[in-house]
């Protein structure tokens, strides 16, 4: 049978029986690929595309079409591109958004059009609690979790006078509330900085004036890079201990800042030195493909692709059957780089959180070393409020 004839038959078949298996999977990948947060978006994209490549360009056995777009960390652009994905490209899945404010701006139209959103990063407390939605899955974490882990560690280490610093957006508010959920000591000051701010001279002068014994900061990507450099340049590192969630102390920040990061304790749900088969393969493939150590964002992009692959396979490609796909996603039968993976009832992960320390490894590289476990099978604090139907 000649190729065009077979294609015509296939097209006719699909048109007639919508519940029949789709011929391909369209995935809308919208992320921050420019501006201060670009490093995060690029890592998620690289991780995601590495997984698709390792699956031979197929997802759940069907050819995958990944449409990549840049939201430039701007809610308006995110909303417009999402409308294009939903109405023009008619994608089956959406993923990739880095920042919670963009996630919240985009969520409603995606859920209303019954399109599954597989978040590889943004885990706003709203979607974990009252506004949880059957079409929203987060394969990374709920925003507060990593901050809760650091809060517990700082509290256990007996620090009494801590300054908190985070950008003024939903993710930043979740960071502050997460940290304070497990840190019971005195909070000297809560400083909110403008989203995307890069010069912290004013804030550092304020920190120096309040003389805290420790500083917890959550500043993803370029913001974190500039903050740590300016913190060290201001000579504060002598008498104020720095603590941060994994976001502000991972490979992207370490590569840019280098030695000044040594001795920084941070928390994470993943580390490149976790010894399970999936992680070893992922870290090796990533270094071969991109020539750099993967960051936790890359691991989350990688897992998101594997989750979609598992869901399409388990629902036998019947993407129109939303209930079947939802059940397959909830089952999450995929080999996560973090080992065992399971969702909570609000579609957020229940997983372990580890303590990491930035030290020089055997080959003299400045990188994270896993030191121990802070939480085991930890669930987020909002699942109770979620009445998922």
């Amino acid at each position: 049978m000649s190729k065009p004839l077979r294609a015509a038959l296939l097209a006719a078949a699909i048109a007639s029986a919508p519940a029949f298996a789709a011929d391909k999977v369209k995935i809308g990948f919208l992320s921050t690929l420019s501006g201060p947060g670009a490093g995060l978006g690029v890592d998620i994209r690289d991780g995601f595309q590495l997984a698709v490549k390792s699956l031979g360009g197929k997802v759940g056995g069907l050819p995958a079409e990944v449409i990549v777009a840049d939201d430039a960390q701007n809610p308006d652009t995110a909303k417009q591109t999402t409308e294009k994905f939903l109405k023009k490209d008619k994608v089956d899945f959406m993923t990739g958004i880095v920042f919670s404010n963009l996630m919240l701006a985009v969520g409603k139209p995606v859920f209303d059009s019954h399109t599954f959103y597989i978040s590889a990063n943004a885990g706003p407390s709203q979607y974990a609690g009252a506004d949880c939605n059957p079409y929203f899955f987060n394969v990374a974490w709920q925003n507060d979790n990593l901050h809760e882990a650091v809060g517990k560690y700082v509290n256990d280490q007996g620090f009494k006078n801590v300054v908190l610093l985070a950008p003024n957006y939903p993710g930043g508010k979740d960071a502050m509330s997460g940290f304070k959920r497990f840190y019971k000591g005195k909070v000297a000051e809560e400083i909110y900085t403008k989203m995307g701010q890069l010069d912290y001279a004013a804030e550092l002068a304020q920190v120096r004036a309040t003389k805290p014994d420790a500083l917890f900061f959550f500043l993803p990507g370029g913001m974190g890079i500039n903050f740590v450099k300016q913190f060290v340049a201001a000579g504060l590192s002598k008498d104020v201990r720095l603590f941060a969630p994994g976001f502000s102390a991972d490979e992207d920040v370490i590569k840019a800042v280098g030695a000044p990061m040594l001795g920084l304790f941070n928390s994470s749900h993943w580390a490149h030195d976790m010894d399970n088969a999936a992680n070893k393969k992922f870290v090796a493939d990533f270094q071969k493909e991109y020539g750099r150590l993967p960051s936790l964002y890359a691991s989350q992009g990688y897992d998101a692709a594997l989750l979609i692959d598992a869901a399409v396979r388990d629902s036998k490609g019947k993407l129109e059957d939303k209930a079947a796909v939802k059940k397959a996603l909830e089952a999450a039968k995929f080999a996560s780089v973090r080992g065992a993976f399971k969702f909570n009832s609000n579609h957020y992960p229940v997983q372990d959180y580890y303590l990491r320390l930035i030290r020089q490894d055997g080959q003299g590289r400045v990188t994270n070393k896993t030191m121990g476990t802070i939480f085991t099978q930890h669930a987020d604090a909002y699942v109770g409020e979620c009445k998922m139907k």
Binding site: S34, G35, I191, N226, A233, A234
Partner: protein, 304 residues
Amino acid sequence: MSQLILEQALNGLQFGLMLFLLAAGLTLVFGIMDMINLSHGSLYMGGAYFAAAAAQASGSFAVGILAAVAGMALVGTLLELAVLRHFYKRDHLSQVLATFALILIANELVRMVWGPQPMMLNPPEALSGPVEILGFFYPAYRLLIIGVGLAVALFLYLLVAKTRVGMWVRAGAANREMTEAMGVNVRRLFTAIFALGAALCAIAGALLGPLLAVQVGMGENILILAFVVIVIGGIGSIRGALVGSLLVGVGDTLGRALLPTLLRSVASSEVASNLGPALASILIYALMAAVLFWKPQGLFPARG
């Protein structure tokens, strides 16, 4: 508390001097050629990218700055000769459209050459730590910026006040037709002024690159502050640009730092930390509107 005020004042001085580098070029172009140049911010961005590229290639920050200055002076000259020269006689609306188009082109060219992600530009290794003076810590790199800023300000003052070219510049600012009538080769003077403005932007871009970030579109926010400065100072006056930039630099920084603490006594810390920075920015524009309303010629009017 005095440590905080002193440190903030120095931060304000540092930001003010960098603003001056932009404002000086902008006020001359605006004052003498009566040209609204919205793409002035793109010259600043170009300078930052040239510095980052050269510093990464050569490994030395100083080479980065020199490359930026030379590169942008050349780009400025070419831009003036090829495009801007044709718009001196045109009305302000056409100038706005043309220079707005240049912003789009500049941003896209940078994105094509260096990609959408911000570029890494680290201060020189020796200056990455703090300096201690009488028990007071201050980042060495920011002191360098203040030093360079003051040096350039002095150089500009001498150039404008004491040299023949400077005299032409002042004459041009006061009355362009008369200057032309007295036989000053105005075309070459304009090109020189524009190149000087571009070089100053390059210095600002190279020095602020490590503190802010070398990224596409970095010119647009600081451009608006430069306009505020030259309006307050008086369009066409270098002295006005210096005073205006220090006023805005220190005002904005102190406002951003002290207003939240002041507001905290009256409102909750959450509201104070939000309202503080916004109020600081609003005050800057309120000052500009007030100057435009009462003293449209600015504090140091160039035109007699």
